[in-house]
Symmetry: D2
Subunit: 416 residues, 4 copies
């Protein structure tokens, strides 16, 4: 008698390439076949690669970050069909647990080369850097950012349902529009990654005709969209519930880009503590929920379990929408947030850290980024708070010159 | 023996107009004389008008909101000189308490007419509306938004030091630049309020020559700036410490725009629960702190005392930077946040509330607005979470059509 | 239009003696006439003396504590009749706020002489001592216990309904039984204070015949009982709801013994930060609730607003039921708790505090006392946790001898 | 490059009996040889049996609970030697994580037969009962107690260092004293379990002579003592630090009795959710800490990670030291706590639960038991608070008769 062991809906094999495996894909498209199916109420595991499918090593060089092949990213596990889910329903996904693999107790935070993708502070930190994090139970520490230790608010960066053909078409149109507009105005900015056949994976059970369609039309996995996707919401952690709209029969749930921890904003593109691991899920269905909840984008409930630092232990920095050159912008939250981050970095440099170290830390530690005010023309105000209790020394502002410590170094590129 | 009663550095008189009183001003300028001085370590009270100086009544019409004279706003209490503070120091302001006046146990939340100033959702809610909140001890309830009750995370919307002449000049230049640019391009948007002689108050002890200077050059009080000012940070509440840079001898601390409660973003311009009241402060000085902390904008530590709702009790909505017309924008946090707010409003309409009621609620209740991700091109993701425990009915998503309740109405304008 | 000011159901006058005033009483008895009546749903204030009616001064001598006249204590405000409450109902009392009087921003913690009443550590600290606390907004600091500052979790030590004649008789019998038993066995312990005519007050509107009855039979206010009473529950603070059984028509609610803060256990008899102040209440009635909830003693819901220290900031000490002489007791929680407190005191002596100072601190600061295990024969385990963040120096255990500081002194008796 | 996998200091084998394995013992004695050694700063795993070594099955009968062989309990993993630890030092044990075995996602809560050991409510629930809990990720649910679900605050019930011969002798004397006293007075109560040769295990590498000594003198593992031991402190969870005094060279750390969750008090003897699992630890040493901290019993710091329910979501019950027969006791916390528990049980019976179900729930769910006041003669007041958010229905007190639900049944004994 008693309950059976929990089933693993999607298993991965580290001895094979990600793209040689069933249940791994890297595009959003309704024609990708389900790699597994589950019943409502059933608890199941899904194993996940890190977002790059294993391109980054536990070493002291950022060369792998600089050389990342982004066409293949993200390597997602799925899609999983949920019995009975129909378009218009809401899929309730309960995240019951997430764990790194026991034999892979580490992760990494990176800043990509500026050309590879935007990061909040790429004007200041344009080159690839990296920090390795070791997991000690629930805690992360880094030889590249000493005197810091914190428990992970572990979560999937990506959790989404499969789009319908109609929704997919809408995405492709609107993203092409902004892309084309920037091309027209000769903007150097990469504003959107469009479908790209090169690097497309859709599991190993798809028939060639459908694969061609997926490769041609499949939405890239970088942005969050109406189905969920790469929302990078740091408190979608253990015990959370995500309410995702369903667009295809069976919903087609995929998950990946697991993060041991992330700061609000994930400000450097590869900013969280990226890891491979196992997520434990349970799904239920609310019939017709999309209409009944007037739902356009997902809703969620955070989990009850978190690290709790007293509110008065968050040293908090403000940013306003005046840029680094003193130029006034109109209620620009992006600029205001950048200023808050830059302020924080300057403050911590006084203790001996490099700017690069704090940039990596800000991306990965449980910092809180709030929109404080958004109507006080012309300045919006954003705040970023960092918990004092993740440091093993006193970071609080006090009278007297701070004595800088030897803080070592994060990983830089070593070859050109 | 024993301690003396706490001194009131600035007293106000509700039987007189705000501008007839010492210690009330509405511009930032180094020539405004100190209305009081305090010593480091001394605890003192400052009494404050509501931000409009009493223009809004506890009634069921939004006419007063529509007719607000904004030239006189905000009515601030100060400046208070702090013995020994010098330019380059950091003024540590400990907010020890804030209370409404015992005989004025109410406040209000308003949305201004679209012409009067921007609000996040002015495209949807262009006309003046209002809700009155009654204070029952630490709680607020509103006859205009029934079935809601929450304790206030009470705070000053505005807390700042006086700028130096140099800093003031910098502000005036950068704000005029953006203003002029928008005039040039015939933008209908009001992007900044420039100095304006009409409506200037600088206390009643200033000599006429200096007053003329203040009226001509004095910075308006609407935006937050490097000195603090109208930051509208909702958790700068009881027990917080603000670290403000000092630009003039004596610092010149002013405070006002008290809020019984506010949601992150204060999304409707007059969005918090505005009130008159008394703030209790204690100041200390960190010599040369501006340089030692590499400080450009204020830092702060929130207080230890808050209403705590379990993290899993925040029903959370996402927004991405695709606007209401389906147009894709590039990592625009402002648009993403607007979408999250609109989603939340639509959800709550199912329970019988009007959009106006929830717009007012969102501005005033302790909602949390986070920047979730800001690098996942082309979509940023913001979230807004509202605590279920402020409602006296169950707001959680469940199977089955929601039965709407009779929710009455907020206050609208009654005359034209 | 708008709401009227909140009514004050019971006002006190500091220029008169407590016992000269309507609405002040110090016994529980159904014949004490209501001093005011309120309606369900009505918000009202009640003003309260400190528990001693003003016998303790803001000075540096503990003589007043030693000389306390306990027959008159506690001076309670009430009883207040609630329209419609009947025996068998549950009175829901919402504590909306508690504030000290603005012109009395101080309180005190005392340890009584051992003869006057038991305190947890009277074997070690048998003589009267005192600490004065100054209120700085929401914070308390003491010149008698330096380097400590914390916000008060303000609450009424006493909140109760009037007993019926039957219930009162039951109390008097059971308390007399234990008292008489201890007299019989020549125990030196004072185990219960029985009704005593001397010192009885019942308001100034009671007729002489009824007063005689109250004086003869009225239950003393020291113990908590089925009606509530002196429960000294530290988180019955702002925003709490107490569910009290009703025994007489109109319920007869009385309140007093206000505490600015208290540690779990209130381990020294006069252990909280005792103060005079104003409490804001709202009552409602649940008909027949006593039966429907199978209620024998009160229930309550704490309020949502507290000071929050991270859980990992509570330095926690254990005690087991082996006494100071090494003698084993059987699952005795009282002894285990005493050991935990003694351990804590010894630890803090290393920093330079006297045992007396920490004894007073333990009684008044927001320490958490948990029953950890109660079945592991023969030892129960209790824990007491003290938040590190109330100290302005680092209290955490670290390698190396602690350097004691000059910690001054608490107040002792000065005359014999 | 990079970090090696974390070492497992003690491995167990479920295919063998616990007592056939190295690294499993069930007595405290300095002669038990170390089963492994670790270095300060080294992270390591220890695998643990459940406290009974596998005597309880995942089924619907409580026969196994009734038939438990307690002589063998608890089966502890250890002792582990820590390099460099010497008597007088403090061993800092950081609990970095605890997990159930992936293929054993379940645990149990039991109440023993009254004869087997005391439980708080054995007068009411004298027979063996059981509830099985299934682990869904971080959550526990039970087919025996429906409509309840909560995340575990997972912890070791037992964590301790090895006593010196002197300390062990002291324990044996004081416990024999109380045992003999009760025998003398013909008390039917089992007050202490003394050393007993039958059932002793000390690992499989001990030489026979030493084994005989351990069997004769070894302290039983039931009570917590000065070295730690069976403290059953529910928040000694992930991220906690325990400060344990060292009595022998190498400290000799042992751990076991893992709990997925436990309520304060663990009121039924086998009251937590008992499980087998893996604990991840890291140790450091504070030289001479016992003297420097005046330490007699362990100290600890809880971890930062917990489930957080809003304080106002804890429905809280009071108990006073008047027993069920109306008899007055003097400040008896044990009796007061029992009353609070009984009150809670009666309340929840209204919803359809049996008393047995709630008794098991109280022992295992994250309930908070506080000593509220301990000086208000003759009544102490204790409180027990249960979080509303662990139920999937509304437990709050409301007007109107509660409609009981079908709550099924917990497991009872099926044979005699």
């Amino acid at each position: 008698m008693g309950k059976e062991a929990i089933k693993t809906a999607i298993k991965i094999d580290f001895d094979k390439k990600p793209w040689e495996q069933a249940g791994i894909h890297n595009r959003w498209h309704p024609d990708i076949p389900f790699a597994a199916t589950v019943k409502p109420g059933e608890v199941f595991h899904i194993q996940c690669f890190d977002w790059t499918g294993g391109q980054v090593a536990n070493d002291d060089s950022a060369d792998d970050i600089r050389n990342l092949d982004l066409n293949g990213c993200h390597f997602l596990s799925g899609p999983v069909g949920v019995d009975g889910a129909e378009p218009g329903d809401v899929l309730v996904v309960e995240i019951q647990d997430i764990q790194p693999f026991a034999d892979k107790p580490w992760g990494y935070t990176g800043v990509l080369d500026k050309e590879a993708g935007p990061s909040l502070l790429d004007a200041y930190y344009p080159e690839a850097i990296k920090a390795i994090w070791d997991f000690e139970g629930i805690f992360a520490t880094s030889r590249h950012i000493p005197h810091v230790k914190f428990p992970g608010l572990i979560h999937p960066g990506i959790l989404g349902t499969m789009p319908s053909a109609e929704l997919l078409a809408k995405w492709n149109i609107r993203e092409k529009d902004i892309h084309d507009h920037h091309v027209e105005i000769h903007s150097p900015l990469m504003v959107a990654r469009l479908p790209q056949e090169n690097g497309t994976y859709a599991g190993n059970s798809i028939d060639p005709e459908k694969f061609a369609k997926v490769a041609k039309e499949g939405a890239r996995t970088i942005p969050p969209r109406e189905h969920g996707g790469n929302a990078d919401i740091k408190n979608l952690s253990r015990g959370s519930k995500a309410y995702l709209p369903v667009f295809v029969n069976g919903a087609g749930l995929s998950v990946g880009d697991l993060h041991f921890s992330q700061g609000d904003g994930e400000i450097s593109f590869c900013g969280a503590i990226e890891m491979a691991g196992v997520i434990t899920l349970k799904c239920s269905i609310i019939k017709n929920g999309v209409k009944d909840f007037a739902m356009n984008t997902p809703m969620f409930l955070p989990g009850p379990v978190e690290a709790h630092y007293g509110p008065s232990r968050y040293l908090t920095f403000e940013g306003i929408s005046v840029d680094e050159n003193g130029k006034q912008h109109f209620l620009d939250v992006h600029i205001a947030f950048r200023q808050a981050c830059l302020q924080l970095i300057e403050y911590f440099k006084q203790f001996g850290y490099s700017g690069e170290q704090i940039y990596l830390l800000l991306s990965s530690a449980p910092v809180q980024a709030h929109i404080a005010s958004i109507v006080d023309i012309p300045n919006s105000c954003t705040t970023i708070g960092i918990p004092a209790d993740i440091f093993d020394f006193d970071i609080m502002p006090r009278e007297g010159k701070i004595e800088p410590m030897d803080m070592g170094s994060c990983a830089y590129t070593t070859t050109k």
